[in-house]
Amino acid sequence: MKKTLLSVLSLLMLASPAVAQSLEMTDEQLAPYKIKRDEAGNPAEPTAAAGQRFMKALTERDAEVASVVRDAVRYEIQDEETKKFARQKNFVLIAYGVIWALLAGFALAMWLRQKNLIKQIRKFETRFADDDDDSDDDQ
């Protein structure tokens, strides 16, 4: 979410020449809202800090415009999250379905094996009972 917020705000700032032209802001005026960097060029603050400064300044300058920007960013984030969820939930459902299908298949195989075993035992018992009858007849 923070990355999306940052990317949207960065796009606004990267298009600064066009933005500056339309918003009548110079590069010097936009400079405070860029990420602070150390001598090596690495970020010296959290990535969202610059965007938060921008939003704070925008809110102080014009609350209505700030509100509109926040809504646009919120919509972007929600749209991205919804698409990500829709794309990924199918994997979860398929994985769970396969697991339960395998467990059910194993239980069924065990049940069939037991049923077959009982059938063989009964067949054997019948055969023994017939043999006993035959031996009784012989006597």
Binding site: Y96, I99, L117
Partner: protein, 221 residues
């Protein structure tokens, strides 16, 4: 005592598996992996149960080889089949998760390859038990001991080699709702394992007794 234990396991398994989906989806969302991380709560317990099944099979095989007592062989046979079952759960849920997280169903890294190897060893064990005939129990016991030796290599594979698979530090570092969902899943899987093992051992025992009587009857004729 045995019946009471099985009843308790049945209750735990039923309650656990009914409650689990709610716990899983109520658990915190992992930031990087997002929703597909939820497969974790079924995939990892399946892996642990496979390891448990392999260890039970291996240890009871060792006892069978030293005592030649058939009851240990019955337990080994049941545990071997369960190693195949839980291995199948692991090797199907894993690639589905892999596709979601990595974009590939399968990568030939150390842990995945050795897991597949272990599964094929126990498929061989199950086939040997089914079709090996009289005397195959001892050969199967040897296979089970070999399989048991592979498990530590699978577990520590992520430490020894550079793998794509997540490390072993994930489970100890779980917090809050994720930890609860995971351990309820483990408990449910363990109860299911005990139930399936008891059922399988019972069937195996009856089959062995029936075959013994059948062979005696055939010899008498």
């Amino acid at each position: 005592m045995k019946t009471a234990l099985l009843v308790v396991c049945a209750l735990i398994a039923c309650v656990g598996f009914v409650w689990l989906p709610h716990l899983v989806f109520a658990a915190e969302l992992q930031y990087d992996l997002y929703i597909n991380q939820k497969i974790f709560y079924y995939h990892v317990p399946a892996a642990f149960m496979q390891f448990v099944a392999v260890f039970v099979c291996g240890i009871t095989s060792v006892v069978f080889l030293s005592t030649r007592s058939a009851q240990w062989d019955d337990i080994a046979s049941g545990a071997g089949d369960l190693a195949v079952l839980f291995g199948a759960l692991l090797l199907t849920s894993g690639p589905i998760w892999g596709k979601a997280a990595w974009g590939h169903y399968w990568v030939w890294d150390a842990r995945l390859t050795q897991s597949l190897l272990l599964w094929t060893v126990f498929i061989g064990y199950a086939l040997l038990r089914r079709y090996g005939g009289l005397g195959s129990e001892r050969l199967a016991a040897g296979m089970a001991i070999f399989g048991m030796a592979v498990v530590p290599m699978i577990y520590f594979a992520v430490n020894f080699w550079k793998t794509q698979h997540p490390s072993n530090s994930v489970v100890p570092n779980l917090t809050g709702s994720m930890r609860m969902a995971f351990w309820i899943s483990m408990l449910s899987y363990l109860s299911l394992f005990v139930l399936l093992l008891a059922a399988h051992v019972s069937i195996g025992r009856w089959r062995r007794r029936f075959l013994s009587v059948k062979y005696i009857a055939m010899e008498t004729e």
